[in-house]
Each structure stands twice: as C-alpha cells, then as structure tokens.
Symmetry: C2
Amino acid sequence: MEFVKGGVAAPHGFMAGGIHCGIRKNKDKKDLALIFSRYPAKAAAVYTTNLVQGAPLTVTKEHLKNGLAQAIICNSGNANTCNADGIEKAKEMAQLAGKALNLSPKDVVVASTGVIGRPLDLAPIASHMEELVHHLDHRDSKAAAEAIMTTDAQVKEIAVQFTVNGKTCTLGGIAKGSGMIHPNMATMLVFLTTDCAISRDMLQKALSQDVQETFNMTSVDGDTSTNDMVVILANGQAGNPEITREGHAFETFMKALNTVTVQLCRWIAGDGEGATKLLECRVKGAPDPAVAKTVAKSVICSSLTKAAMFGADANWGRILCAIGYSGAKVDVAKIEVRFSSAGGEILVCENGAGVDFSEELAKKILLEKEIDILIDLHDGEASSAAWGCDLTYDYVKINGDYRT
Amino acid sequence: MEFVKGGVAAPHGFMAGGIHCGIRKNKDKKDLALIFSRYPAKAAAVYTTNLVQGAPLTVTKEHLKNGLAQAIICNSGNANTCNADGIEKAKEMAQLAGKALNLSPKDVVVASTGVIGRPLDLAPIASHMEELVHHLDHRDSKAAAEAIMTTDAQVKEIAVQFTVNGKTCTLGGIAKGSGMIHPNMATMLVFLTTDCAISRDMLQKALSQDVQETFNMTSVDGDTSTNDMVVILANGQAGNPEITREGHAFETFMKALNTVTVQLCRWIAGDGEGATKLLECRVKGAPDPAVAKTVAKSVICSSLTKAAMFGADANWGRILCAIGYSGAKVDVAKIEVRFSSAGGEILVCENGAGVDFSEELAKKILLEKEIDILIDLHDGEASSAAWGCDLTYDYVKINGDYRT
C-alpha cells in the first residue's frame, strides 16, 4: 500500500471541487464543495446517533436507500439543522446539484456543517452551481476539502493505492472536524471515494466495522454533533472482480480503508478546536475489546487530563481517575501508565500507584506535539486506541463566541 | 426555616476548626480541618463511584460500619490516593485525631483532597493536632471550611434552623468543590452536621435521596473525583423525639437538608475552576424524572454550551445538540428553550426550531453572573434541575499546571 496525491479525486472516475459561493461572509473562505463520480457508484454511510439530526441527514438517508449515489454536495457555514424548512432546503440542494450534473437528485448526497438553527439561504448555492461544476478537478480535491472546513485549521485530504486481484485500486478521503467532535456510531463529515469494485453490502460492512475502531474512538470535546456523517462511494473503475464476501480481497480493502480513516482521525484530533497537541491513548492488557475501548475513550475525553497535557504536566493521577470513572470493570491495582513521544518514554504509574520518575524527562516528553498515553491493564490480551487533543485557551476563545 | 450563622458548628454540641499544618507549602493556606461532636452522633455517608478510590474512603467506610462517628479529620493539598501506603496513612490520621480528642479512631471520619499519587507526609498533621484541637470553635466553622479548599475561590459554609415537634433543630454544612466535579452517587467533599435526633437508617435514607437531586446534578468538568464523599453527623442534641420513619418530621428534615445541599451545589458550581458564571438548567415537561435529569445534566456538561455561556453567546443550537445526544428519548419537535437571568427572559427555540429573538436582549441576559437555561420538553409532568458553570480560559490555566 502506498500513499498517493489527489484525495477523493485520486480514484479513477472521481472529480472534486470547492468554491466560495456566499454562505459565509468571508470571501477568502470556500463554503461549497462537490464530489462527482462519472460512473454510477455503490454508496454506504453511517450517521450521528444524536436525536437532533440535521435535515441533510434525513434527505441523504432517503437518497441512499437504493445503495447508489454519484455526487456529494456539501456547504459549510450553516448546518441546516433545527430549521422549520430544513428538509425542503436540503432536497433543493440535491436538485440543484443533480440538475447541474445531469443526475437524478436521488443520486446526490447532501451535507451541511456550521451554525445550528439559522435558516439556510439557497440563493448563493443556486447562483454558483454552474461555476462549481466548472471547477471540478479529476486530480485534486484540496478545494473541496477546504470548502467543508469550519474552524479547522488544516486541510484533511489523503489517498492510498492497494492491489486487489492484480488490479491497482485507489481509496481517498477528505474530512472536516475541529469542534462538536465525539462521534457515536458515526462521525464528523468524512467523504471517501474508491474505484475498487465492491458490493453495496460489503461496502457498508467495511465502513460500519471500521468506524468502530476509528471515528468512534476520536473526541475533541465530548459533544456529539447533529450533522455527523461518513459517506463512501465506490465506482468499480479499477476493474477488479467485485468484492462480494469476506476473504483476502475484503481484508486488503479494509486495511486500505483503515489506513485512510486512522490518518483522518489523527488529523481531526490534532486539529481539534484550539488544540496544540495530538493525544493518542493506547490501551493493552484488557480482558476484552469493550473494556479497552471504554478506558481509552474515557482518558481521551477527560477535561482534566486534556488540560494537563496542554500544560505538559505529567499529572498521571487524572488518568487513573478517568480510568476509574469510565464504567469499565478494571483491577486498579494492576494498572500501568507511561507517557511516550518523540522526546522519549517514561513510566509514571505501576500497580495502580505512582513510581519515582524524572519530572525533567516527563516535561521533555510532554512538550512534544504528539503524545502517546500508554496504559497496560495487565488483565488480558485485548487492546484499543483513541485519539483526542489538549484543552487550551483557544478552545474557549473559539467557542466563547462562535456565531459572531 | 431560617438561615443562621456558624456552618457545621451551628448545631448544638458541634465544634469545628482549621489550621495550616504544613502539607501545603503556602503558609497562608489552611490545610487541616477538624469537626467534632461533643456527643456521640449517628453518621451516614455516600461515596464516589469511581473505581479508583482514595484510601481515606476505604478507612471511613470501615469506621462508619456501626453507623456512629464523632469527628471528621480532613486535609487538603494531598488526596492520599494511588499511594502504596495510603490506607496505613489514613488509619494513622484517624488515630492522631482520636487520640487528641480522646475518642476511638473508629469514631473518626477521614478525608483527604488534593494531588493524586503523591505519598502523604503525616508529620505535619501529627505535630499540629493539639493546636488544631485547641482551635476548635463552637460558633463558627469558617476556618474548617477554608482548610478543606483546594482551587476553590470561595468559602462554602451554610446553616439553617427548622422545627421538629416543637424543638428547634439546626443543620449546617461546609463543602469544597472547584475541579474534578461530576459526582455520581456521591460527590465532592461535603460535611454536614445536625443536632436533630434521627435514626441512622432515616439519616442515610435522607442523605441518599437528597444527593440524587443535588450533588449528583452538579458538574464542573465531567470528571468524577476519586475522593468524593458526603458525610452527615446527627448528635440528637436538639431534644426532638427521634425521627424513625417517614412522615411530617422526616419531610421537614429533608427540606432543611435540601435547602443546605442545594445552596452548596450552587456555590460549588458557581465557584467551579475558572468559572465566571453559575448555570442552572431547569427541565420541565418531561415524561419521567429520569429523562428530565438526563437532559439537564447533559446540557450542564456540554463543553460547547459552557464556552458559549462564557462568551454570553445565545447559541441555543448547542443546547439542542446536547439534548439530542443525552441518551434520553425526547421528541425533538416539541422542545422549547429559554434563557433567563436578572437581565430578563427570552425565548430562543420553540417546537425544536429557532425563533426570531433580540440578540441584544439575549446578550444582556447572558452577561449576568447567574444564568438559567429553561427547557420545556412539552411531553409530560416531570422536572429536574442541574448546576454547572461556564468553561473559561482560567479553567485551562488552573488545570494546565495544577501540580507545580
């Protein structure tokens, strides 16, 4: 497997584009993205479990009932959520995109991200749809990745190539994250494309399995968004025999998918609102995967642990505390905790109690940009990882006045 | 019922004191508190559900097995948690207090709060125990309330008087809160005293019922502490016939207890680490109390809502979002949200969707120090309240470097 350029435009037959249409006031900020497959594609998706769901999710779920889609239209700057006319507007967005691409609106996935509860004005989208189609690029999806960003500081775009039955396949992805990131069964906005031939059922199975280990193990602030969705389109243009069951080819596909999604998770966490550090919590020695996941996620979500990491403070007691209230049944007396980074590795807790350690070395380790919190429960063979970020002044600043 | 001075020293037969003994480096900060009943007292308690529990909790649970206690010794500056010698040290603390007060160590409740995982040095406690006993005051518990504070900015001390069967009873309380506040079945450190005569069973029943509506509905940062406990001592010196069953006298007692605990909750939330505002979320129209509680607590715990309140930003979409991911089954289309404070009241969301409102009036309301978030689910008769605070730069500052 190797990394390639092009993001969601990298797989054969896919194009992507992004422009400023006027939903946002700032003209330097793109706010409308389009992804297009020139061939019919199988489509699979997972959605937020928040009971308050954006209107675009309702419309997208309806459109994906037949398991097919050929385009994704997404605006930033307005979530089109908690509005009386939301569903009507989301349907119109699909119609506008479908008309411009000569597709049925039913083959268009609709997504929106931004402020909740402010009516979405469709005029800027309608008047810029032709321009957006004109900007579709078959080699690069950077503009699309930019156009779906809200408070993200970095563009999140990736693609990998892998081989299935002798055919080179490509899988690409773009994501927006930053705030309101605490996915549950689904996630923030992530759009994936692949030219690998795979049946709808296996595509959904691959995606649903993968998100449990990736996006559902990522948290910026503990708030599960109303507009989360991950969508994958597979247009089969790589020419491989269609993957229709588990086996070697499916495993290869899963591995490629996981490579892309783990990288997107790391970027989303590391680019969390106000974040200065990416935190990865790796738990091993758990009696079962559920315990490993619960512990990893609890540590990543602890405000106190996150603030300590911001301050490069080796306050491991907060990690023990977060393990203790996680709800997982653990034997506290067996817990071991280490911090690791490019600056080195240090043991801070053994058998559930503190050990003497060099505060100087701990500081050196924690001053790095990517910190691993390594927990060994010494109580089995299961393991898990979760991704998060530190809690900083800037998180408060960004969210103290987001709307104005 | 009327408010009186004296805190936990207000009820007949109780004394309290607090001094600086040297666990903390800062000599201006008291770090050792003692509460003493000159008469045997019934004792009831609730404890944190965190699996990682401070050694003082283990020892206190053992000491309270017979339902009796006569003193509470508590230090700040060190939690005596996750230390190999923790239980031994906690037992010694009880012995030191017992010896100085001429009590069995089994009649002493032990509590500690502060940094986790640093061995507790008993020398300062041992050398200052006589001085502490000498400082016991039967009219005022301010020194004790100060000595249990960690990052708290305000002393939390309260007492009320009420009448049971013609006898005047007094109930007082002190608390420490500030950070790692997200109680579950128990809470931060709260010590309550009363001279009301009440059986051990009814005392425990009153306390256990009350915390479900008060401390368990309070959150500063979503982190459930390892050292939470609420202890109440009742020495019967008011002379009322002992309360041994439900009925009018028990209800009067519950009301007095609730008056004290709600005030302590409000102080703990409003004095949360870095907080500039007290948030009270009141939910009504719920199909059952569990839904009302789940919704209220979810809103109070949302980092995004808390940051918006810091910025006086009427971003009600974040409140809908927090209701949606709370796990409670609600009908989103019926939800109504209002903000209220000394600055006025404003409707911002009706039938699950935004309404036109004056941003100017909303700002005026949200710039106040105490904000009520009023939610009507329009789906039943049950209600609940929860207390929290805003998320501020200072929370990050305090917790970015707590140990040093």
